[in-house]
């Protein structure tokens, strides 16, 4: 038969962590089908499973978003493009530093390699830190999913009205409301004084038995005003781009809010960014472990593989950022 097929090629990297301690069995030789080390091949294959994983999540996002009757604008949900863009920048930088770490390791500059690796670790941590800050901004506004249902309502309907009423009727809130009513006006800021008046109005509106949807819309607007396109979005004072509502001025209130499409937005936002953050964290863990080793040419394949993974994580974010922040 074909003689050339019988030539015995060199065994590429027996890197499988196989201890050869046992009585000298034959050291087998192989005919590899691809010019790749085992580690690299399996990393590529693993990444292709990861691609499918994120493809499923992103696909679901697209289906849910375009199937939804309304979708909140980034400012309705306290999403800040500049912060997102900065975070994107941080992650891209970290992709560069890991490449530099690899180059340094290949050139046997172990100290330099360690420096770049450490920098990657720091940049990755910075990314997570900023992410945490962003999450905090959502949480503080009651934007997160809760079982069986969160603070976000789709529209100011009767369910919403009764939810506000229920919250205002909680004993702890009643006490605080009483305190607020009794506080002398001069101990309040001007903003708090007006807010106190509108809060009293809100209480009256939701308390009355024949409330109208229109009233509830007013209530919702008092509790958390949504910036509209013409009002000027970004810069009309307030924090994070919208006027301050009752929930901002009296954070202990935590009244139900109305954000059309807000529930699904929160579900998908935390799903996508959450799984991405978990992947970032895993990468950081590996970096931290690698820092304990000498980063020379011997460990370069390892750095290369984790680098591949890191680029992938970066790439996922490059998709997420425009999808979540810009469109």
């Amino acid at each position: 038969m074909n003689a050339s097929a019988i030539t015995i090629p060199h065994d590429h990297g027996h890197s499988g962590g196989h201890d050869d301690g046992h009585h000298g069995h034959v050291h087998l030789q192989y005919q590899p089908g691809l010019p790749l080390s085992r580690g690299k091949l399996i990393m590529w294959l693993f990444l292709s499973t990861e691609i499918m994983f994120f493809a499923a999540l992103l696909g679901s996002y697209v289906v849910l978003r375009f199937g939804a009757p309304v979708w909140p604008k980034p400012h309705h949900v306290h999403l800040s493009e500049p912060i997102g863009a900065f975070n994107t920048f941080v992650l891209i930088c970290s992709s560069v530093t890991i490449v530099l770490a690899l180059e340094a390791a290949k050139a046997s500059k172990t100290g330099l390699a360690k420096f770049w690796m450490l920098l990657t670790l720091l940049l990755g941590s910075l990314f997570l830190g900023i992410k945490a800050y962003e999450y905090q901004a959502k949480f503080s506004h009651g934007i997160y999913p809760v079982h069986p249902r969160g603070l976000i309502y789709e529209r100011p309907d009767l369910y919403y009205g009764s939810a506000v009423r229920a919250r205002l009727g909680e004993p702890a809130i009643i006490d605080r409301l009483k305190d607020l009513d009794e506080t002398p006006a001069d101990q309040l800021t001007a903003e708090q004084r007006t807010a106190r008046t509108s809060l009293q109005q809100v209480r009256k509106m939701v308390g009355s038995p024949d409330q109208q949807p229109f009233d509830l819309a007013v209530v919702a607007d008092q509790i958390m005003p949504l910036p509209t396109a013409h009002v000027g979005g970004d810069h009309d004072g307030g924090h994070n781009g919208h006027a301050r509502g009752l929930n901002d001025i009296f954070p202990w209130l935590r009244l139900p809010i109305v954000i059309p499409g807000g529930n699904m937005w929160a579900s998908t936002y935390f799903l996508l960014t959450g799984f991405h953050a978990v992947h970032v964290a895993v990468g950081l863990l590996v970096f931290a472990i690698l820092l304990g080793y000498t980063l020379g040419p011997k460990n370069a394949p390892m750095i290369e593989n984790i680098g591949l993974y890191w680029h992938f994580v970066d790439l996922v974010w490059i998709f997420l950022f425009p999808l979540l922040y810009l469109f």
């Binding site: 590899p32 999540l57 369910y159 699904m264």
Partner: protein, 604 residues
């Protein structure tokens, strides 16, 4: 053993004295429990899945009992779950078939094919000493245990195990108020599913790496036995389809625990409970689920097809008819498998125009299957058929797969599916492909490779009795289901006889249940034969079936590192009855010609 003999390709050291590490007790854990040896891991998978097979079979019997004699006291088992004095509650019935399917699919068929046979056979048949990443391989087995625990424990939590069907459609599965057992049971189900997924993922990337990089010299891709091709493509399917289910599983888990609403529409009120926040789409789950689970049905049959192809050639003493078309058709099934998932959703409310495209692609997937079927027939044609137990199971695989496949055509025809969707016609279809197909293929594989696994052969006489009874009873159970389906008898009903349309079907169902009892009872013969032969069966040599592939050149059972010489491959795996050769088979390692063979013998 000296290096000189070890590197000479030779089959003369017949016995298996080159055992693995045989140290004392200190080695026990690392050798038999946390072993990184692919053979041990394969056997661990085999034993675990066979035990679960028993569990799944008993659950099936309980299902059958209720379908035949609704609300009558269940014998024996009834005492265990007696809610109403041995009579099962309707929610218990839904739990039964959900867990029956879950166990059979996720804990039996998938892990027995990829886990047990894939692990045991891949390195041996390509001439490698182990998997590319033995530790990862060990992990892929141990990741099954959390799943075993999750599924197992779910039977004992409040409300019972998952009962939303194995398809777990929302909002029944996501809304805790919608059914008594969609509390912890469903959550544990999702957790178990995730672990099975991780296990399969670890396995599949490892298999692909091994097959790509660790074939023996001369073992080109187109000299691989069909078993390996099938395992390879199955691994590809798993790697690309499974992550989607994992993602969907997480989303359902979050819907249940965190209050996200991916799969529940806004304001969905179940059982007068609080309306959920929602905003999601119930059909999204179905798309994601079937995007995985349709390819998964091929994950559950391709390896069996591969093994059957090999076994047919061995016992027909003939080359495989159309080796390359067989390879391409596996690839074709796998490729098309990704674009037909919608055929499970014809009635789901999905856009009917989309239904048409899925219908056409589904029709097309019958083509590669047709190629396979006809090539199996071609392989038998003109052969010298030896009716071993293994061969009988392999032939019955072909025979039964034809039935299961053809019933698929009815359902692929959308207008016909209007009537038969969610009836026993579907149940008949998938038991023919899964049980009468795959499980028969698995038995063929067990009888065939048993000598390699344990160094002993199984008893042929009792093997044939086992085959005969299983074959008869399985057809008695499942063929008649087509008839139920033709009447429109719906699946997943605890009791359908109060419907005027179906009340006359009880006697037929009773008949099927008798057959099912017979089928499960016949497995006692198998279990006894298996266990007896493991310890006391007649010793087998290296190559008891005179087969060609590499695993038969290794000792039975192979020691650590598998081969006591360097295998070098000279030809494809199916050189049986080659004209002008004395032997009726040429092994893949046999040197190219007689002169070379003599030279090798002289050098020894």
């Amino acid at each position: 053993m000296s290096t000189a003999t070890a590197t000479t390709p030779s089959l003369t050291h017949g016995d298996a004295h080159h055992g693995g590490p045989q140290g004392g007790l200190s080695h026990f854990l690392s050798t038999y429990v946390f072993s990184k040896d692919h053979k041990v891991i394969g056997l661990q998978f085999l034993f675990s899945t066979l035990l679960w097979f028993l569990v799944g079979g008993l659950l099936a019997l309980a299902v059958r009992w209720q379908v035949a004699w609704p609300w009558s006291d269940v014998p024996v088992l009834g005492k265990l779950f007696a809610q109403q004095g041995g009579q099962m509650a309707p929610e218990f019935y839904t739990m039964l078939f959900t867990m029956h399917a879950t166990v059979m699919i996720f804990l039996v068929i998938i892990p027995i094919l990829a886990g047990a046979f894939g692990n045991f056979l891949i390195p041996l048949m390509i001439g490698a000493d182990d998997m590319a990443f033995p530790t990862l391989n060990m992990l892929s087995y141990w990741f099954m245990w959390p799943a075993f625990f999750a599924f197992g424990a779910s039977f004992f939590v409040e409300g019972g195990a998952a009962s939303g069907g194995w398809t777990s459609y929302p909002t029944l599965s996501t809304n805790v108020a919608s059914s008594p057992s969609s509390g912890w049971g469903q959550t544990l189900w999702l957790v178990g599913l995730t672990f099975v997924g991780v296990s399969s993922m670890l396995g599949s990337v490892n298999y692909m790496t091994t097959i790509i990089l660790m074939r023996a010299p001369g073992m080109t891709m187109f000299r691989l036995p069909m078993t390996i091709w099938a395992m390879f493509i199955t691994a590809v399917l798993q790697a690309f389809a499974l992550p989607v289910l994992t993602a969907a599983g997480f989303m359902q888990l979050f819907d249940r625990t965190l209050g996200t609403g991916f799969f529940s529409p806004e304001g969905n009120i179940v059982n007068n409970a609080v309306p959920g926040a929602g905003g999601g789409q119930p059909l999204l789950w179905q798309h994601l689920f079937w995007f995985y689970s349709h390819p998964a049905v091929y994950i559950m049959i391709l390896p069996a097809m591969g093994m059957v192809s090999d076994i047919l050639t061995v016992f027909a003493r003939k080359p495989l008819f159309g080796y390359r078309p067989m390879v391409y058709s596996i690839a074709g099934i796998a490729g098309l498998g990704f674009i037909v998932w919608g055929h499970h959703m014809f009635m789901s409310g999905m856009n009917p125009a989309l239904g048409i495209t899925f219908m056409v692609s589904t029709m097309m997937i019958a083509l590669p299957s047709a190629v396979k079927t006809f090539n199996w027939l071609g392989t038998l044609w003109g052969g010298r058929i030896e009716f071993t137990t293994s061969m009988l199971f392999a032939i019955s695989f072909v025979s039964m797969f034809i039935i299961g496949g053809l019933s698929g055509i009815f359902m692929a025809a959308t207008p016909v599916d209007i009537f038969i969707h969610d009836t026993y016609f579907i149940v008949a279809h998938f038991h023919y492909v899964l049980f009468a197909g795959t499980a028969m293929g698995v038995w063929a594989g067990i009888y065939f490779w048993f000598p390699k696994m344990f160094g002993r052969t199984m008893n042929e006489f009792w093997g044939k009795v086992h085959f005969f009874l299983t074959f008869i009873f399985l057809n008695g159970t499942f063929f008649t289901m087509h008839i139920l389906g033709a009447v429109g008898f719906p699946r997943r009903l605890a009791d359908a006889y109060h419907y005027e349309t179906f009340h006359h079907l009880q006697p037929l169902n009773a008949f099927m249940t008798y057959c099912a009892i017979g089928m499960v009872a016949s497995q006692v013969i198998f279990a006894a034969n298996f266990i007896y032969s493991m310890f006391w069966g007649p010793k087998a040599g290296r190559n008891p079936w005179n087969a060609n592939t590499l695993e038969w050149t290794a000792p039975s059972p192979p020691g650590h590192g598998n081969f006591d010489f360097q295998p070098v491959v000279h030809r494809g795996p199916y050189e049986y009855s080659v004209p002008g050769v004395d032997k009726d088979h040429l092994m893949q390692t046999d040197p190219p010609n007689e002169a070379a063979a003599r030279a090798a013998a002289a050098a020894h």
